[in-house]
Every structure is written in C-alpha cells, then in structure tokens.
C-alpha cells in the first residue's frame, strides 16, 4: 500500500529542485515559466514607443519627462506548464521480481517529478496504464493531487497493456508530457505519438527505465522467459549472451536516437545506481534544449 510515508524520502529528495520549461510557454495562466506573452507585470523587460491603441496606463511618464518622447513599459509574463506523467505498469516493469525494481523506480520518479512540478506551481497529472484499468489523475496544482497520484501508482505491474492510448489521452491535457516506461511494448506507436506532440509545441520527456539485470543478465540463469509473453523462452548460453548484449545495446542506441530526433528529451535511468535526487536533477535540468539531454 503506497502512502505518503512510502514516498516521503522522494519528496524530501526533490525539495528545491526546479523543472524549468525548455521553451517559452504559451499559457496565459500566470506561473513560474517564461511565457511567450509580454505584458505589464512588474518584471521589466524593455521600453517600446507608444503606439495608438496602447493603454495610457503603461506610459512611463518619468521617461517622457526626461526624453520628451512617449514610451510604454514592457514586462515579462510568466505562465504555468501543465504537466502529465504517463507511467507504464506492464509486467515487464515488474522486473526483477519480487522487488519490482523497475516499477518502484518508475513510480518514485513519477512522484518526484510531480512534486517538482507542483511545488513550482505547475498543474500536474498522472496516467498509469495497467491492465486493471488506466488510472488517471487530471493536472491540478493543489497539494492533494500528490496523494491522488500515490494512490494511482499503487498497483502491481502486470499484463502487456499498450501505452499509446494512455499517452494519446494525456497529450490532450498537458503542455509537458513525461513518459516513464521500458519501451518493451508499443514503442513504435509511442514514437509516432511523440513526434506529433512535439510538433504541436509540447515538451516531451522520455524516461527509459532499464534494470541492471537487463544490462548484465545473471549468467547462472540459462533459460529466460518474457514476463509479458511466457511462451517466449530463450536460452542464455555464453555465445547467446554476447549476442544479446550487442543487440540490446544497439536497440537502446536506436531508441535514444529516434526519440531525440523526434524532439524529445530521452533519458535512461537504471534503478539503484544513483540517488533519487541525482536522478530527478538529471531529468529536470535543461542541458541545451530538447533532445540533447544525455542518457546513460
């Protein structure tokens, strides 16, 4: 049973971390992110010559007195960035059993990012795709939204439910979307949706969860089975292991390249290899724009 106590270390770890938008946001709702709209708020940006139609209240009369010309003050508008996190709760995320490291790491990252966004004033929501039913928390700014999210992520990974429908639904409700998955399901559909979302101006973060056991499979385990497709069994002989490592690395590289080419921020995370704060900081720190954040 997930509770606030379960995620308390995460909430503590992310305190003080910001998650700035990668671009100016379009929203008109005041918030923490730089908006494309320039208004008359107290944050001065520049003067502009008065044009007919401007409100006389924006005229800087002191400047008129000094320069004998009429200027109006322009200020930077700030807006919120509605954020939705999409979590994959398929059976492959339950690896390795019974600790479910991938899923535990994914939902902690989800709660951590949600808290980072929420504490800065962004509406934040959540979608958990699970065969028992997709759990959705609409983007909100109130504090109780975190409790709703904690409740939503309280599931056991199972099944092989496609993530694309949940992502498509989330895309309509946010300007920033973060997908936390292992991409072992409908990766192609997700990539297509991601391209559409980025093209429409959205900010897309792709968080690829890979376990150490997938990067370096236990050599003592000779026969391996796909948890989502039990009929898929392959033996892991030493030659097969070398080929597996080569194929898996190539697939990860291709995946990262495709997502970055699509304009998303691709980040690969490995559970239990770094602190949660470090992981959240890596995910939220801008590093030169979309698609350039390095993964592992």
């Amino acid at each position: 049973m997930s509770s606030l106590a379960t995620f308390a270390p995460v909430l503590d770890a992310v305190r003080g971390i910001g998650w700035p938008a990668l671009r100016r946001v379009r929203s008109a709702v005041p918030g923490p992110h730089v908006s494309r709209v320039r208004g008359t708020t107290a944050e001065f940006v520049e003067y502009r010559p008065y044009r007919q139609g401007d409100e006389p209240r924006k005229i800087d009369w002191k400047l008129v007195a000094r320069t004998d010309r009429v200027y109006i003050r322009l200020s930077q508008e700030r807006a919120v960035l509605p954020t939705v996190l999409v979590l994959d709760a398929s059976a492959s995320m339950g690896f390795p059993a019974p600790a479910n490291d991938k899923w535990e790491h994914a939902r902690r990252i989800g709660i951590g990012l949600a808290e980072v966004a929420r504490q800065k004033g962004d509406p934040v929501g959540l979608t958990v795709v699970h065969p028992g039913g997709t759990r959705t928390v609409p983007p909100r700014t109130r504090r109780t939204v975190l409790e709703e999210m904690m409740h939503a992520v309280d599931v056991e990974p199972a099944g092989a439910e496609p993530l694309a429908p949940g992502m498509r639904e989330a895309m309509r409700r946010c300007a920033r979307l973060a997908i936390i998955t292992d991409f072992l399901g409908d990766a192609d559909d997700l990539l297509a949706l991601g391209r559409t979302f980025v093209a429409s101006g959205g900010e897309l973060h792709v968080i690829h969860v890979v376990d150490k056991g997938e990067l370096e499979p236990d050599p003592r385990k000779l026969l391996l089975a796909d948890p989502e497709r039990p009929e898929l069994r392959r033996p892991m002989s030493p030659p097969a292991r070398a080929e597996y490592l080569r194929r898996f690395a190539a697939w990860r590289d291709a995946l990262a390249r495709d997502w970055r080419h699509a304009g998303a921020v691709y980040t690969m995370v490995v559970p239990n290899t770094e602190s949660m704060r470090g992981t959240i900081r890596r995910l939220t720190t801008p590093s030169g724009g979309a698609g350039t954040r390095s993964g592992r």
């Binding site: 690896f95 000779l222 391996l224 796909d226 948890p227 069994r233 392959r234 033996p235 898996f248």
Partner: protein, 447 residues
C-alpha cells in the same frame, strides 16, 4: 547356486551400477527465469546436464538394473549346487540277454542305489536314469540284445561328471554276469578313465547264454563237397545246434530251428534258398567274406537278395559289398540262407581257406550264440583297486546343463519390453525447442 562364468555376472553388476550412476545425471530443460528483454536473445535450444540428489525415474531405473542383472546372470550360466554328500553312486545294471535272473539284477541295483544316485541300464546300448533311479531299477526288464560294457562305461563316466559337485567321492558299481562277449577291445581303455575302484556285483548268467553245442550237422548227399570240407575242417558232427541243409529245407527243419537256440543253415547244393532271385547277369567278383574268413575264388554269383527280404543280419558279403548270406530270426533260433554256389569240380573244398569259410558260415547266429564268462583276471582289472574316485578327480563335463539360462534370458527380454513401455509412459520425449512452454525433461540415462 554357482556361476560357470562369474565374470559375466560381475559385468552385469557393473552395468547395473552404471545405470544407477547415470540416473543421477539428468539432462533437462532448466527452470526459466523472467527477463523482459529476452527478445534480444538469439533463438536456440538448451539443455543442461546436472547431478540430481536422488536418482531420476526410479521405475525405469529398477527395470534397467534388473535387465542388467538378469543378462549378467544368464551369461554367467548359473547352476544350482545341491548339498554335498560323502558318496554318490553310479550303478551300471546289465539287462542284456546274458542275465540269468533280472530279479537278481533289480535287487542288487536297488540295494546299491540311494537318493540322487544314477542308474545306467545297459545291454548293447546304455540308458541313464538320474531321477528316481531306485524306482527305475525295480522295473528293469531283460532284453534279448547282447550286453556291451564299453558304451555303459562311457555313460557312467558322463553321469559321474555331472555328479562331481554333489559328493566328495563317487562309486561306480557294475551289476552284471560279466560275459566275455560284453567286453571289447576298448573296454579296458575306457575303464582306465575312471579314477578309482569299481564295485563289481556278478549275477547269475542265463542258461540260454551258455555256448551251444559246436560243430555242423550237414544234411545232404554223401558226396557233398561241403560235407567233405566240414569233415576236413573237423567240425562235422551229427548232433549240433547248427544244421546245414543242402537241399530244400522242410517244415520240420524250420520247427527244429524255431524250437530252441538252434541255427538252420539253408545252403542248397543247386539253386538258391527262398528270398533270393536270379541275377540278370552271372558274374564272378572273385571273393566272398564271412566274419574274418575270406574266400578268394572266382565263384559264380548267380543270385541276388530279393528286395522284399528283410534279413536280421548279413553274415557274408561278396567283395563288392553285395550280401551272400543272411540271418533271419525264427522263434528262439534263426535261419541262415547262403546263396553261394560251389563249383562242381576243382580243389576249392580242399583249400584251408574254404574250411575257415565254412566254419564261419557254420557259427551259430548272433542271437542264439552264447559265450564264456569273463575270466577272473579281466574282472580284477575291471574292478581295480584303491579308494573310491574322488569327485575332484572326475573329469568335469564338457557341457554343463544350465536350465536357468533360458528363463533368465526370457525374463530379461520381457523386461526390455517393459522398460520401453515404462520409459514412454513416464518420460515423454522433450523436443528441446526453446520457445516451447513444455517443461518436461528427459532423463540422461538412456542407453
């Protein structure tokens, strides 16, 4: 129970131990572990060989061990060893026509025979009785055949060889009147093969086995050359058990022969006795032989034995093997037909060879002839001296009967079929396809 070739049983034990060891080594599909990225593992099959803590497929193992042990035991040729006893006996009981009283032979043999002893009843042939010898001895009957010790001794040696594991010593006893005619040239050599003394129990000789009166009573013309030759040979007599009829034999002559141990020789001076037919071509083959007497002379051969005639014995043959004289049993005696024409002139009858030939033709028939008793010196040599034959000194049999072998092989064959059914029923074959969800495994102890 002992094994004639125990090395095969040890090999069977080794094979069984190997089967047990192999059943600890199993080849199976390992238990699968989850890995979400298994799709990146290349497709192949896998089996691993491990040492199981307990043998796999106990029923199959049991059947295989039994097969190995049964085959090993069968090839080792098991024989059941009876309890040893101090002395075992082989009793040779004479049932030939030389025996005067078969009851005496029965009593003597039964007195000697104990449980599991062997009886060898013999006349001209020997019959070995291993089971219920005493009871068989009580039912012995006298035959009309001559007795022969040599085949009986050989049968006794074989019987003793089969008994060498049953007793410490083996005693050979001979219950017989021991006539001289029962001993031949090989008897003493065969006797020498017996490594101990022989108990000789002599029984009364039958009166009808005593030698008949010697000589030839020739019924023919006064100037018959045969009569002259018999007289010259000193065997002519008027009262003999052998009558030579030179003419046509009468019913009285036949009745005379059938009424006692007598021999009627039908040797017509002209023509041939009944049962002979004229030859298409008369020839001279040059010689005729009767027993050890050979008569070399160009005698004309005019008659041949009718194919419908069934002689008891051929007494004389032409040099090319054709019969010249035959015996036929009649009642207690016999009739001898001689189809040899004598020349009307010449000195043949004066020759000593002809006299020997007539003597041979004039000997009583084998069935009615008697003979003297075996002399004491030869009896003593037959009995020998010293201790009983030690069983170890008796030559082991060349072939030891192992009645258990076919049963063991049959049981092993049946178990092979059972093993096939058990293996198919309990351990379905696993194809080894890695994507196959089956987890059945196959034991690695397959042969």
């Amino acid at each position: 129970m002992t094994f004639l070739a125990p090395v095969f049983f040890y090999i069977g034990l080794g094979v069984a131990a190997g089967a047990v060891a192999l059943h600890f080594i199993v080849t199976r599909q390992p238990a699968s572990s989850p890995l979400p990225t298994v799709r990146f593992v290349p497709t192949s099959s896998v089996r691993v060989t491990t040492v199981a803590p307990v043998p796999e497929d106990l029923l199959v193992l049991l059947v295989r061990v039994l097969i190995a042990l049964l085959l090993g035991a069968a090839f080792a040729r098991p024989v059941l060893t009876p309890d040893r006893r101090p002395v075992a006996r082989v009793v040779m009981a004479d049932v030939s026509r030389a025996v005067g009283s078969i009851a005496q032979v029965r009593d003597s043999a039964r007195a000697l025979l104990g449980p599991r002893d062997v009886l060898v009843a013999f006349d001209s042939a020997a019959r070995t009785v291993r089971s219920g010898a005493a009871d068989s001895a009580a039912r012995l009957t006298r035959t009309e055949r001559e007795g022969r010790l040599s085949p009986a001794l050989i049968a006794a040696l074989r019987a003793a060889a089969a008994m060498r594991d049953e007793a410490d010593s083996i005693e050979l006893a001979i219950v017989s009147p021991l006539r001289a005619s029962e001993v031949d040239a090989s008897t003493q050599a065969i006797r020498a093969l017996w490594p101990g003394r022989v108990r000789v129990v002599r029984v009364a000789t039958g009166a009808d086995t005593l030698p008949p009166r010697a000589g030839l009573a020739i019924h023919g013309a006064a100037d018959d050359p045969l009569a002259f030759a018999a007289a010259a040979a000193g065997i002519a007599t008027s009262d003999s058990a052998v009558r030579v009829v030179r003419g046509t034999a009468s019913a009285a002559d036949s009745a005379w022969a059938a009424g006692g141990r007598r021999t009627l020789v039908r040797w017509p001076a002209a023509g041939a006795p009944s049962g002979w037919v004229a030859r298409a071509t008369v020839d001279t083959v040059g010689a005729v032989i009767a027993g050890e007497a050979a008569l070399v002379f160009p005698l004309e051969r005019r008659w041949a034995l009718d194919t419908a005639t069934h002689p008891t014995r051929v007494v004389a043959r032409w040099v090319d093997g054709q019969p010249a004289a035959i015996d036929r049993a009649v009642g207690e005696g016999c009739i001898r037909d001689v189809a040899i024409g004598l020349p009307a002139r010449g000195d043949l009858v004066l020759r000593p060879a002809f006299g020997r030939f007539v003597r041979a033709i004039g000997t009583p028939c084998e069935g009615v002839a008697g003979g003297p008793a075996l002399d004491e010196a030869r009896v003593s040599a037959l009995a020998g001296s010293g201790p009983l034959a030690a069983s170890g000194a008796v030559r082991p049999p060349d072939v030891t009967a192992t009645p258990l072998v076919p049963w063991l092989l049959g049981a092993a064959l049946a178990l092979v079929l059972v093993e096939l059914l058990v293996r198919r029923g309990s351990a379905p074959l696993w194809s080894g396809a890695s994507d196959d969800a089956r987890s059945a495994r196959d034991t690695g102890a397959a042969a």
